[in-house]
Symmetry: C2
Subunit: 209 residues, 2 copies
C-alpha cells in the first residue's frame, strides 16, 4: 500500500523538521479540530496559528499551505479506510463474510480516526484537494457496492432493497457514528461495532415477532 | 403548535413586504442553499446578496440579520419535525407502532425539507440561535428515546442494544439520508422510507439464514 507508506515517511520528515513540542502530527491534530469546529472554508491560517499558540510562519515551517494541511489530514482518514478494502479478509471467503469484515473494519477506522473522518465527511468539494478526496471516497463506495451485489447474489442479503440504496444506507449509518460516538463515553468501541452491525444486518426488531 | 403558526404568519408578512419576485420564502430557500454550500460561519451577507442577485440592503428589507435568516430557516426544519412527535399516532397504540410512526414521519420531513434539515444537522453551536435549535433537537432525541424504552419494555425491540445507543443509531441512520438522497433520482420517497425502515427494524440479512 504505497499511499500509507508515503504518508508515514512524510510524517517522519515532518517530525524531524518540526520545532520542539510541535511535530507535524501535533499541528495536524489541532488543525483538524479547528477545521471541524469552524469549517475548513471559514478557518484562516491566522485562526490556526492562534489555536496552535504559534505564529503563522511557524505553521508554514510544517506545511506550505492550508490546502496541504487539509490534504495530509484527509489522508489520515483515507489511507486506513482504503487499507480495509485491500485486506485479504475483504477479498476471501463468502461475500457475506467479506462484506461484514469490510463494514467492521470501516467502523474501527471511524472510531480510531474520528476527527479525521469527520473532516472527510464534511467536505464540500470546493477545492481540488477536496475533490480528489471525494474521488477516493467514491472508489470505496464502489468497493462496498460490489460486495453488496455479491452478497445479494449468494443469497445472504435481502434483494428487495436495490444494491445502490443498500450501499448508501450502510455507509450512511456507519458515517453517522462519527457524529455522536464519544470514545470516553459509556459505549466501548467493541460494543459500538457489535450494535451497529447488529442493527444493519439483523435489525432492531425482536426476532420471531 | 404556536411555533408553526407564528412562523407562517411571519412568512405572510415577509411576502407582503417583499419586492416583486422575492418573498421571504424565496430568500430563505436560496440562503439555506448558500449556507449549506459554504457553511453558515463562512457565508457573509455580501455572499448571500450576490447569490440572490440583490443588494445587501434588499436582504435587510426581508430580515434584520444573518442570524434571523438562520433562525427562520431552522424553524422550517424543526417545526414539522416537532409536529411528528405531537401527532396523535405518535401517542396512541403499541410502543412499537408509535415508534414506527415517529421514524416514518421523521423520514418524510427529511425528504420534504431536505435543505433545511441539512442546515440543522450541520450546526456547530457557535451562536445563540444555533444553540437554541440544538436544544430543540435534544428534546426530539428524548422523545425518540422514550419510545425506544417503551418498545423494548413491551418486547418489540431487542434489548441487547441499550436504549441510548438504539436512539442514536436510529437518528444517525435517518439523518444520514439527507446526505445522499436525491428526490429526482431513481428511488421514490416512499421506497426510501420502506428501505430505511426495513434495514433499521428488520436488518439487511435474508430472514431464515
Amino acid at each position: 500500500m504505497p499511499t500509507t507508506t508515503d504518508t508515514e515517511s512524510g510524517h517522519n520528515d515532518g517530525a524531524r523538521r518540526g520545532r520542539p513540542g510541535y511535530d507535524q502530527e501535533t499541528v495536524l491534530n489541532i488543525a483538524v479540530q479547528v477545521f471541524n469546529k469552524h469549517g475548513y472554508d471559514a478557518t484562516s491560517m491566522g485562526t490556526l496559528a492562534e489555536n496552535l499558540g504559534i505564529s503563522k510562519s511557524a505553521i508554514y515551517h510544517h506545511v506550505p499551505s492550508k490546502g496541504d494541511l487539509l490534504r495530509l489530514a484527509l489522508d489520515h482518514a483515507l489511507a486506513p479506510l482504503e487499507a480495509v478494502g485491500e485486506d485479504e479478509r475483504a477479498r476471501a471467503g463468502s461475500a457475506g463474510e467479506r462484506l461484514e469484515f469490510f463494514l467492521r473494519g470501516t467502523i474501527r477506522v471511524l472510531v480510531e480516526r474520528q476527527q479525521y473522518v469527520t473532516l472527510l465527511l464534511r467536505l464540500r468539494g470546493n477545492t481540488e484537494v477536496e475533490r480528489s478526496a471525494l474521488e477516493r471516497r467514491r472508489a470505496m463506495d464502489r468497493r462496498l457496492s460490489d460486495l453488496v451485489v455479491a452478497a445479494q447474489q449468494e443469497g445472504s442479503l435481502r434483494e428487495d432493497i436495490d444494491p445502490r440504496t443498500t450501499t448508501r444506507l450502510l455507509f450512511g449509518t456507519i458515517n453517522s457514528l462519527v457524529e455522536w460516538y464519544r470514545p470516553d463515553g459509556p459505549v466501548s468501541a467493541e460494543a459500538l461495532e457489535e450494535h451497529a452491525i447488529g442493527m444493519m444486518l439483523d435489525g432492531l426488531h425482536t426476532r420471531g415477532k
